[in-house]
Structure formats: structure tokens, C-alpha cells
């Protein structure tokens, strides 16, 4: 088994998807000749040809809408939005068409497609390049939403998403593309959509996060461990459908919870997690569940980024407050 980054694991996953399903194809801006601005599709056009790795005009609504039509006709398109901020022009196609054709046609027509969306800040990018709007997609019935934070999950969830008979929004944490390495099997592994991972056992407090923020969460959990505080760390991996059981089991045990996301606070997905916990575990709670999130401000440019993104210190601080409450 090779040590791969998330970027490499995704590349390997896409390659094995193209091998496994002849109906699979990739479509997006600059994914062919250049292999994508993040090189996730590097080499795939040469290997599978321009009919299966398609460079499109600059038109996100078209990419999703055309991909949707292909899916209805039996293909398994894997579409790339270059950055999450550029998925907004496709929101109408995603909400009004992709998410509901199965319902509208009572299963006659379906959209087994995957929309890959690199998201999140921390790379000092230009405006619109650091969005974390997963809540929009998580709030849309008919969509599944997954977000890996490790190479193995990246490949496994990607293949599960391509295999899934329904549309899957596949969020990729830009900041972690090349910062985490781990052994990833050559085989077309699967990671089940809808199952969270308890990364670290602990009995004092439950720390819940996903995607890029798992980095800060892991560091915070490790820091607390040094002080002898047991943090149970959960990587959701899937936002929809949410693995409520795993969350509830943990909080019933610890009685305290902190949720970490980088999206703006108001109506972010963190609120959904908090709500589910209080619905199921209220009587077990010793302290209010704390959200560590981005602010309700526009995502700042490079020099202001560190003020916006939750830091390890912020996570640690929230854990402390929860323990002291």
C-alpha cells in the first residue's frame, strides 16, 4: 500500500471509478489538459480520453445541467466545480432539478451523479475562493453530502458516491489536499455514506467536526490529552444522511459537546448538529453545547484569514469553557 495525500487518493479514486464503470465520466473546467487547478484529475484525460474527461466552457450551470441530463440517460457523471464560490451559478440546477427528479418522476428518472466541490479557506486565496456553504446543500432534500478529511476516506467516499444511485455533493477540503498522508489501498475501497468515524475515544467531552476543520480538532484533542482530558473526537464524514447514533452515543457518555466548522455561524451546519444533540441528549448535558465556527462576516483576504478561521486555541478554549461550565 502506498502513502497518499488526499489529492492523490482522489486522483486514484477517480481513475478507478473510470475503470469500474464505463458510464462514468468527468466533466468540468480545466480538468482535462491541466488536470484541474488542484491537479486532482491529473493525467486522466491522457489515460481515458477526451470523451470521458471533458473540458467544458466556463459555465457552471451548464456543467451541472448537462451532467444531469447525462445522468438521466444512464451515465454516471462526476462533475467538478472549480471552487465552491463558483458552484453558486449551479445552485438552481442542483436544487430545482438534480435533487428532485427522482421524486418528480416517481423513480422513473434519476440523477446518479457526483458534484465535486473544493471548499474552505486557509490558502490565502482571492475572494470567493474560500467558501464553506455546505449548509445550502445539506438543507436540500434529495442530496447526499459527504466531506472526507483523510486520504483513505477521500477515495472510499468518492467511490461510494459514484456508486450511489442518487446525487452526491462531494466536498473536498482544499487546505488538506496535500497536508495529510496515509496508506490507501490500491483496491476500489468503499467508505459507507452516512457513517461517522470516532477517531479518538474519550469520556470527558465530545468534539465533532468534519473536513478541513478536523486538522484543528485533532490538534486540540491531542493538546487536551496531554493535560489528561479525554476528548472523544468524531469526524462526521457525511453530513447527509447524518450519523445521529454515533453522535448521540458519544454525548450521552460525555455529557459535553463542542462542534467545530469554518462556515459562517448563523444557520450553519453546526447548528443542525447542536440541535440534534439537544433533541436526543438534553438530560445528559452538563453544559451548553458550544459552536466554534467562522464569523457571520465575509471571508477575509489573506492577511485577515487567521482572524476568521477557527484556530486550535479557539477549539481548546471552547473545550475548556464546556468543561468548566
Amino acid at each position: 500500500m502506498a502513502e497518499l495525500t488526499i489529492a492523490q487518493a482522489l486522483n486514484a479514486g477517480l481513475a478507478s471509478a473510470l475503470e469500474e464503470w464505463e458510464q462514468a465520466l468527468l466533466m468540468g473546467e480545466d480538468i482535462g489538459r491541466t488536470g484541474g487547478v488542484f491537479r486532482i484529475t491529473d493525467g486522466l484525460r491522457d489515460r481515458f480520453g477526451p470523451d470521458r474527461v471533458i473540458d467544458t466552457p466556463v459555465a457552471e450551470s451548464g456543467i451541472v445541467g448537462v451532467g444531469f441530463g447525462m445522468a438521466v440517460a444512464g451515465m454516471r457523471p462526476i462533475l467538478e466545480m472549480q471552487f465552491m464560490g463558483f458552484s453558486y451559478p449551479a445552485v438552481d440546477q442542483i436544487i430545482n432539478h438534480v435533487s428532485r427528479i427522482r421524486h418528480r418522476s416517481r423513480h422513473r428518472f434519476t440523477a446518479p451523479l457526483v458534484i465535486r466541490i473544493p471548499y474552505g479557506g486557509g490558502i490565502g486565496a482571492a475572494e470567493h475562493h474560500s467558501e464553506s456553504a455546505e449548509a445550502i446543500y445539506a438543507h436540500t432534500p434529495g442530496l447526499k453530502v459527504v466531506v472526507p478529511s483523510r486520504p483513505h476516506d477521500a477515495k472510499g467516499l468518492l467511490l461510494a458516491a459514484v456508486e450511489d444511485p442518487d446525487p452526491v455533493i462531494f466536498l473536498e477540503p482544499i487546505r488538506l489536499y496535500r497536508s495529510v498522508k496515509e496508506e490507501v489501498g490500491e483496491a476500489p475501497i468503499r467508505v459507507a455514506i452516512g457513517s461517522a468515524a470516532v477517531e479518538r475515544q474519550g469520556s470527558d467531552v465530545t468534539l465533532i467536526s468534519y473536513g478541513a476543520m478536523m486538522k484543528e480538532s485533532r490538534l486540540a484533542a491531542a493538546a487536551m490529552a496531554e493535560e489528561g482530558i479525554g476528548v472523544e473526537l468524531i469526524d462526521l464524514r457525511t453530513l447527509v444522511p447524518l450519523d445521529v447514533e454515533t453522535i448521540v452515543r458519544s454525548v450521552d457518555k460525555t455529557g459535553r459537546a463542542v462542534v467545530v466548522t469554518e462556515a459562517p455561524r448563523t444557520a450553519g451546519f453546526a447548528s443542525e448538529i447542536v440541535t440534534v444533540i439537544q433533541e436526543h441528549c438534553l438530560y445528559a448535558l452538563h453544559a451548553p453545547i458550544r459552536r466554534v465556527t467562522g464569523w457571520d462576516t465575509v471571508f477575509p483576504l489573506k492577511r485577515g484569514e487567521s482572524l476568521y478561521l477557527p484556530s486550535v486555541d479557539r477549539v481548546v478554549g471552547a473545550i475548556r469553557m464546556t468543561l468548566e461550565a
Binding site: 447525462m70 438521466v72 447526499k144 447527509v240
Partner: protein, 324 residues
Amino acid sequence: TLRLYRAMVFARAYDRKSMSLQRQGRLATYAPFEGQEAAQVGAAAALEPDDWLVATYRDAAAMWMQGYPLELLFAGRTGHESGGRPPDHVNVMPPSITVGGHMVHAVGLAWAERLRGSSRIAMTMFGDGATSEGDFHEAMNFAGVFGVGVVFFCQNNGWAISLPRSEQTASETIAEKAIAYGMPGVQVDGNDLFAVYQAAREAVDRARDGGGPTLIEAVTYRIGPHTTADDPGRYRESAEAEDWARRDPLERVRIFLSERDRWTEEWQADVESRTFDEVERAIAHAESLYPPDASHLFDAVFESPTAPLDRQRAELEALLGDED
């Protein structure tokens, strides 16, 4: 011709009957197509039975021509989702309610068929108003760049609800918009069955032969209101509609046929009354559909329901249980 004229008569009878059914409160809002029968029948007639049709709320005649059962059209209009599921051999998408969003789908459908080596093509129908949406542009551009076998069939019926064609776009014709995408564009008299059929036929053949997309502008007119909720008196002179009524697409073919002694009043009356019966049966069937229940709501969100959905479904069933 007789076959197509028969279809037009059927469509006209269906449309008028639907209007009265709506007034009786048996249908939700209905979007009549009176005046556009030649456009819809002529265009759909150019398709093979298994070609894709991606049309709108106003294209019932075309959808019916392509095999969409009457009772399903009514099912949707009585507010039942099962109306969105055509029989397995019928490749017609449920009518698009959003304006403009469906044309890109036709591009994907036709492209996929080509990739899979099938000879199926796709036709998409839309109105003059839909050409203003960004998705029209993206659909046309994708089709042009990738040479996809799609027929873009625009029924320019003069109005988009209350906006006249002249204020919808400053181009002289809609057909000429094809130039912007490097595809052929043709304008035809949408009330001339033969002209429409011929233009559609050429476009369909070109698409099937790998010749790429075509934009057809069928100039016609919406004789009735936008929908049963609309009052054209607020935005247009009745004289305009009367004027167009004189160019009735059915009448033109009727004259053609009767001159050749292939038409009689009895025959027409017979077709009409049979249509009314068929419509009655169809609406009755639609009204007799199972009343939606919890599973109706929950079992088509995904192929198999998720745990959170099962919990919500249980919640709803408990509530329904309480009620009786």
C-alpha cells in the same frame, strides 16, 4: 396529414376540455396552448418514438404525441406526483415548470445517447421568454461546442405572461440567436403544420446524422390566457388575439383536406366527441389515484430511505395514526 390533423383536433379538444375542467375546480392551474397546435404536433411528429422530448407546462400536445399518457398529464394537473412518471418506453421528461432550466438537460440526454452509441436524439421545447434565461445560453453554447444532436424548438407565441416578444429581447428574430452558437437557426410560420414539420424534420435528421444542433423558431400565438390564473385583458388588446384566431392552424389544414375531399363534419365531430370521452376517462382515472400517504412523500427522496428519513416518516405516520 390526416393523422396529424386528427392529432391537432384531439389537442384542441383536450385543451378546451381542460380549461372547463379547471373552471370546475377539477384541475389545478392550467396553461392552455390553443393556437399552438400546429407547432407542437408538427414538431413532435418529426421524432422517432423513442427520442427524448424535454418540454414545458404548455406542451401537453407534443408530450402526448410522443407517448405521454393523457391520464398522467391529468394526474400532474390534479396535484399528484405519479403524473411525472411516464411508461418505461416513453422518453419524455416531466413537463418543466421552471423556465429555461430544462434545455441543458436535453443537451445532456442527447450527448449521453451519442456516447452510448445510440441514435436517439433530443428535442427541447421552450418559449420566447425562456430565451432570456442564462441557461438557454449555456445549453445552446454546450450544444454548439460539442456538436450535440439536440433540436431547440422555440414556440414564440408572442408573450411571456405579460411581456411582449418585442420587450423580451432586442434581436430581430429568435432564430438569429443561433449565430451566436455556430448552429443553424430557422424561423417558420408556427401555424403552418407542414412548414413546422419540414423544419423539424430537417433538424431531427441533422441531429441524428451527427450534424449537430439546430434552433427552430416557430412563430405562433397564445390565443388564451397564460394560465387559468391570468387575465390577458390587463396587458394586451383582444383585437390581437382575434386577429391571430383568423390564422387558426387547424382551419388551414382542414381547408387543405376538405379541398381534397378528405374531411367531413361528421368525421370531425366524431373525433371531437371521442376525445371528450377519452379526456373524461383520463381525468376520472387521475382523480381515482391513491391518495398520497407518508410513503408517497418519503419513498422517492432517494432510492432507499435513509435513517433520518425513516425517523421522520415514523413521526408522520404516528401523527396520521392519531388523527383516526
